[in-house]
Amino acid sequence: MPGTPETDSLRTLPGDDIRQVMWRFTDKFTHQMLVQSSRGVARGLVARLVAGGVRETHEWTPEKASLLQAFDEAGITALYLDPDMGGFIDGPKNFAMSLVAFELSWVDAGAATCSMAGHLGLAPIHEKGTPEQRAFYLARTCPPQPGEDRQTWRGAFCLTEPIPYVGVETGLLNGKVSIKEWPEGGEPLLQVEKRGRFITNMGFANFVTAAVDSADDRIKGSCMVILEETDPGLFDRGPATRKLVHQLSSTRDPVFSLTVPASRIIGGYTVKDGVIIPAFDHSGVIEAVFRRTRVTVGLMTSAKLLSAIEPVLRYQRTRFRGGESVTPGTARYELGLQQREDALHRLIDIWATGEASASLGFATARLFDDLDPIERRKDAILAERGIRGDRAAMKALAAVGQQAIPSIKAGTPIDDELARFVVLDAVASVLCPAVKLWNTGQGATMMREAVSLMGGYGITEDCPGFLGYKWTDAQLEATYEGPEAVQRRQLSVTMTNEVFLAQFEQWIREMRGIGARKPGTGACTLASAMTLWLWTLHHLQKATDADGAKLYKSSRQGVTFPLADALCWLLAARFQILDVLELEARAAESAEFHETAHGFTRFFTDLCHVQSAHAAGEVGRITAELVYGYNRHPSWDDVCAAGCCTAQEVDDLDTLIPGYAATARSYADVIEADGSHAPKAGPCVRLPGLQTFQSLRSRMDGCITGTRLAKDRAAEALTKVMIPEAPDYPA
């Protein structure tokens, strides 16, 4: 663009106009308003509560309860509802919920959890409830409209069981449901016995959606039931969980022993031969719910990383001011700790991780918004095609997926709605656990880095931006809705789906193309890392270890889990690059926006390059360990097998190739006449069939060329970026 200096880089921190473009909601005004509303609550009430010390108690206090009214007034409570139920956003709300969680977590993720848990409690009813259940509960969870005088109902979701170390398997439910009474011709009354652990919103929930298993021959399988606080029996909220973090959400270990009508079974039931058959078992309901909400949790940690940038910058700049010898105009006064490269480089790493995780999270949330309507139509489409029953549906979808693979690989549009569903579903099944796993896990690690950049100040309650709290909170985010092992387990299955892998191959070509057009993005580095990962997956799926045991199988988590970890790095870096390209594309359309966006594009491009190098490094490390690590190292005990040669053989060859003996020992393992050899663990590894891996890895390492230059540029920009005079929320 004429008139813009090519060296222009970051001048201010990115504002809403930049984020709306990168995260694709420039045309979604309801979402933009929601961001502002949530931000008002977060940087107003939530920040004041945290600064006022409400995190010091596990109990749900009146001060904490004031959050609920603030959520109601800001539209956060009604966000989950459709307009006909009092909400204000039509259609899927995954992305909108992610934006709200992001804004609240910018200040305190416990507040975000508090708002999300209400949606989570309602989600089973929203997703799978009967029309009557939806009408009853959704209407009551909508805050009162002007002129209405009623209480807003709050929900809690009760899945987790007590208690570790008492013989409870996490895959089984010990909550039980049985039939207490079944009047002739009337509705059965159920007896529900359920104990929960770590149940969010339990301090004030008016109703609970609980997972239970049948303890009665007259009820088939498991289900979810709705329990109300006024139901006959015991509705004991239990003691407050003594968690160390997320103190702005109420968490308790409740006990329920309640009698409820069978109409409370979520999704309803049928009766066949005197047996109640729930329409949905508990796992079907939970899958529909968690599949979406895990993305939101991942974005909570992203918000923390990005929120840490400004406080750390301000701390670095002002670190030495106030000292008698530090006068305005001196480098020590103006730059403070930013005179030191390490302080800048580490902050760049934090920022790059934050950008990548936010890009991955928001892209996934948007993808679920695309998937939701098709998923809801899927059954109807299958019925239109005469396909009935779960097994037939799975077979049909698998066939549709196979047919779609050539189009996916070619990157051509897929017109068939069912095929689009199969592709989106395959990708979503990978992205969802990836967001949850990587954003929270790597996010927690990088939050520790952010805290460390503040010195001792970082680990005090007075740290601006509440960074110490954010770091420890991140650890719980890594556990909520399925700890890291659950996400790795899911990824290890879904990432081998042929449809996903076809998509992944197309993404490699896409990144290579971007690398050709925009070499500074790191897309080419990423493409090389993606190729290496894919080759490794295919290799491990066929390979065996030194004892002949198969490597890629579900029980071999030492293989599958690290490979899942490596994939997450790649996905995050890819979406980060795509977001920056979107910013660049929009900037090219308008001279006015170009003026605003140009510096950000350059800076974010450098961050992409940095992050791609990190991703490539992780992929290289992990794949090398997996590819080599399961082979037994050659031993001096079996020199023939290891391809060694003897001193005699070297001397013999020297007669044919003069000078050979002089150089042989530098590139071959030689056993001397007295049996001695070079001092090392064994002969060097020469594994047949791994030349491709070595070549791919070597190429990827070379692709990292230039990334440190990008990091230097980005670091330089940090010394010049203008930041606000003061934080916009108290600390």
Partner: protein, 266 residues
């Protein structure tokens, strides 16, 4: 008696940002001005909330918000303001950095108000900020009124109490923390608001959704106004920061007040 209330409200840079005046090719401005986030001028915001309150109390009344500001920035600010109270937007695309010429600014605003379809001049109340959080020329609203032929003008307004006949009593700030009480027989009039007495309404997504139906079309058809930047400045410096921080907890309000009083006396 219903009113047609037009609120003139500009944007100002977010006061938390570093605001460094610089001379550019087009005149004075702020360093990185295009990148700085903006907020609605807080003085004008009081006027808007008072206008909405008055309109709600007088059935049949209507509120317009007339804003001279860069369109892109106005859109961002409206995502907050539009959730506060209902209004129709009249957007005029132009600079809003505190360096605009007050006369030209008033002319652009008056022209925009005069062009509002269906506006009844006999019911017209022009509201705005008595002051501004940017440069505070303190004359713009008066000139808007003059250009519209409205001679009943009140500045530093903290309250307007309307009687059954449409006449209203106005409290204007004067020295010493006191108010001057004036009575006006009715519209049209200009009120430059001080802070009024209303708190900022909470965000309401429903109000926002309702406003958004008209706001975005209004933004799209905002016409550009040629408003020159005023003069030049010799020098500007950020006041030197004085920091004397102590972290004290559990201090009583009386003790805090006493300390502040002593600090002021120094």
């Amino acid at each position: 008696m219903e009113f047609h209330i037009v609120v003139c409200a500009g944007l100002v840079p977010d006061p938390l940002q570093t605001l460094e005046p610089v001379m550019g090719p087009a005149g004075p401005g702020l360093k990185n001005e295009a990148l700085l986030p903006s907020v609605i001028d807080p003085w004008a915001a009081h006027a808007l909330f008072e206008a909405a309150h008055l309109a709600r109390a007088r059935p049949g009344s209507k509120v317009w918000l007339v804003s001279l500001a860069p369109k892109a920035k106005l859109q961002q600010v409206l995502m907050v303001v539009a959730q506060k109270v209902p209004f129709d937007l009249v957007a005029v695309d132009g600079p809003a950095n505190g360096f605009t010429d007050a006369s030209a600014c008033a002319a652009a605003l008056a022209d925009a108000i005069a062009a509002i379809p269906g506006l009844d001049r006999q019911k017209l109340l022009v509201f705005g900020g008595w002051e501004s959080a940017s440069r505070a020329a303190g004359t713009t609203l008066q000139m808007v009124g003059e250009r519209l032929g409205i001679t009943e003008q009140f500045q530093g307004v903290d309250a307007v109490t309307v009687g059954a006949d449409g006449a209203f009593e106005v409290l204007e700030r004067i020295e010493g923390g006191r108010h001057q009480v004036a009575t006006c027989s009715g519209a049209p009039a200009v009120c430059g608001w001080a802070t009024g007495s209303l708190h900022e309404p909470p965000n309401s997504p429903q109000v926002g959704m309702m406003n958004m139906r008209t706001l975005m079309p209004a933004l799209q058809k905002a016409r550009a106004a040629s408003v020159p930047l005023a003069g030049a400045f010799g020098a500007a410096a950020v006041p030197s920061a004085r920091r004397d921080t102590r972290v004290v907890k559990d201090m009583s309000p009386d003790a805090i007040a006493q300390e502040i009083v002593e600090w002021i006396r120094q």
